[in-house]
């Protein structure tokens, strides 16, 4: 996990209190921490991951864009199922997440 990408000190919000249980997910073979119930995309952002997928033909990098499940730029392979919108799919313990179209 990249240092400081989780917001801990905020003048209005208390994220520590509201986060789910700490679990582990595997992203492209690497085990990392996440919180149960948060969108997969949030866990990836917290880990400093920016490239979520590549376009099929030109292999251009794409990342999180709309965060409300409309643009599909953040789709990945989750537990063997391709094209899962990571911004609207909650983290579960032990999820295996991979880039697709590489």
């Amino acid at each position: 996990m990249q240092e400081g990408l989780r917001i801990e000190d905020h003048p209005i919000l208390d994220f520590k209190k509201n986060r789910g249980k700490k679990v582990h997910i595997t992203v492209n073979g690497k085990r990392m921490e996440a919180y149960e119930g948060e969108p997969i995309a949030a866990a990836l952002v917290a880990s400093g991951i920016k490239v979520f997928r590549r376009t099929p033909k030109l292999h251009m990098p794409r990342g999180l864009y709309c965060a409300i499940g409309r643009c599909t730029d953040c789709i990945m392979n989750v537990n063997g199922v391709p094209s899962i919108r990571t911004c609207v799919t909650p983290v579960e313990d032990g999820m295996i997440i991979k880039n697709q179209g590489i």
Partner: protein, 366 residues
């Protein structure tokens, strides 16, 4: 295949849909609300600033507290809430096709309210598809709902209320806002929001635009430049900014897929985001027994969306025979007068004019 029958089905559990559910359910309408998201509340839970308006519009209350209040109310009123549920089709007899927990099923409703909200506009420039170019609202979701920072050094594009508010909230979240650019020669949003970032010394470049997002794999910088009154880049004014996140806040447009599936007549009103389902002043669409409310009927604010939702919910209760004519008229008048209070001032006047244009187009449908 699971199947649901309900008196009122509401598609979208944001401020408009929730307010509609409260208004209908408290008059005895059996109400089902569906939303494709994991949590109800729409974009209210990322609004951590205090709302404006009068006491009646919950001025001084933060958006997420308004969200909690609405969720409490629909729980008390036993509104049937189906989350992580996608509406994919709209068939005869108000049958709505839904996808839920890996299964296709349907809801048949006597009345339907479509309250699907809005989507951020993209902006095209060199490098616009790079990871690190994000919608400002998307960034707001990440920092205020999920508590993660998608970048540390930010360029904000657009000085409407979203651009201004999200800039300030990025600072609250611990990011650095390097600059804000605005294509117009003046700030587009409310000066009360602009003042918050202005006072902190964040440069706001007016008559400027983004020319390029730099980087191979993700954003490593940005180039901005001055533009003339034809919105053409003035050569020699380009400057590089050291940023890792570019937020695009150039307006929103109504999300009208479900209204289109329902075959509601669509019109085009530029001042409210473009294509939208035409409706009358009681939020009735051109399709029988289908009402519309909130940003999907023209992009305004959460406060107006809630008033429109109330009106739609009340109208459905009336159509279902749960309210007498006199009390309907009185309640509708109160909601309308609250709504008019939100459509005054330099920004509100234009929105009111646009809404009247929608009513006019609707009346012309015959």
């Amino acid at each position: 295949m699971a199947h649901y029958d309900t008196e009122l089905a509401i598609i979208g559990a944001g401020p408009a849909g929730l307010a509609a559910a409260v208004e209908a359910a408290k008059r005895g309408v059996e109400t089902t609300i569906i939303d494709e998201n994991m949590k109800a509340g729409g974009q209210l839970f990322k609004q951590i600033h205090k709302f404006f308006g009068s006491h009646r519009h919950l001025a001084g209350t933060r958006g997420y507290n308004i969200g909690e209040m609405l969720l409490d109310e629909i729980a008390k009123l036993r509104v049937n809430t189906l989350l992580s549920t996608v509406a994919f089709g709209f068939f005869e007899d108000n049958r709505i096709g839904i996808y839920r927990e890996g299964e296709v099923s349907s809801i048949v409703a006597k009345q339907v309210i479509i309250a699907t909200g809005a989507l951020e506009n993209p902006l095209k420039f060199k490098g616009w598809t790079l990871p690190g170019v994000m919608g400002a609202g998307a960034v707001q979701t990440m920092i205020n709902v999920n508590g993660v920072l998608p970048g540390r050094k930010v360029l904000m594009v657009g000085s409407g209320n979203v651009g201004l508010i999200v800039s300030y909230q990025l600072l609250q979240a611990g990011a650095e806002v390097v600059a804000l650019v605005e294509a117009l020669p003046q700030i587009s949003g409310w000066h009360v929001h602009a003042g918050k970032i202005w006072r902190l010394g964040i440069p706001i470049y007016l008559s400027h635009t983004i020319v390029e997002a730099e980087g191979r794999e993700f954003v490593t910088g940005a180039v901005i430049a001055g533009i003339n009154n034809k919105f053409e880049v003035i050569k020699g004014t380009e400057r590089k900014l050291d940023v890792d996140l570019i937020c695009i806040a150039v307006g929103l447009r109504p999300l009208i897929e479900v209204a289109r599936l329902a075959n509601c007549r669509i019109g085009y009103v530029d001042g409210l985001g473009g294509f939208l389902p035409l409706h009358n002043e009681y939020m009735m669409s051109s399709r029988k027994d289908v009402y519309v409310a909130g940003d999907c009927t023209g992009v305004e604010e959460a406060s107006t969306a809630m008033e429109e939702g109330r009106l739609a919910g009340l109208s459905c209760a009336y159509s279902l025979g749960k309210v007498k004519r006199e009390s309907y008229d009185m309640a509708a008048r109160i909601i309308n007068s609250n709504m008019m209070e939100l459509r005054i001032g330099s920004f509100g006047d234009e929105r009111r004019r646009c809404k009247e244009e929608i009513f006019h187009h609707f009346a012309a449908l015959g």
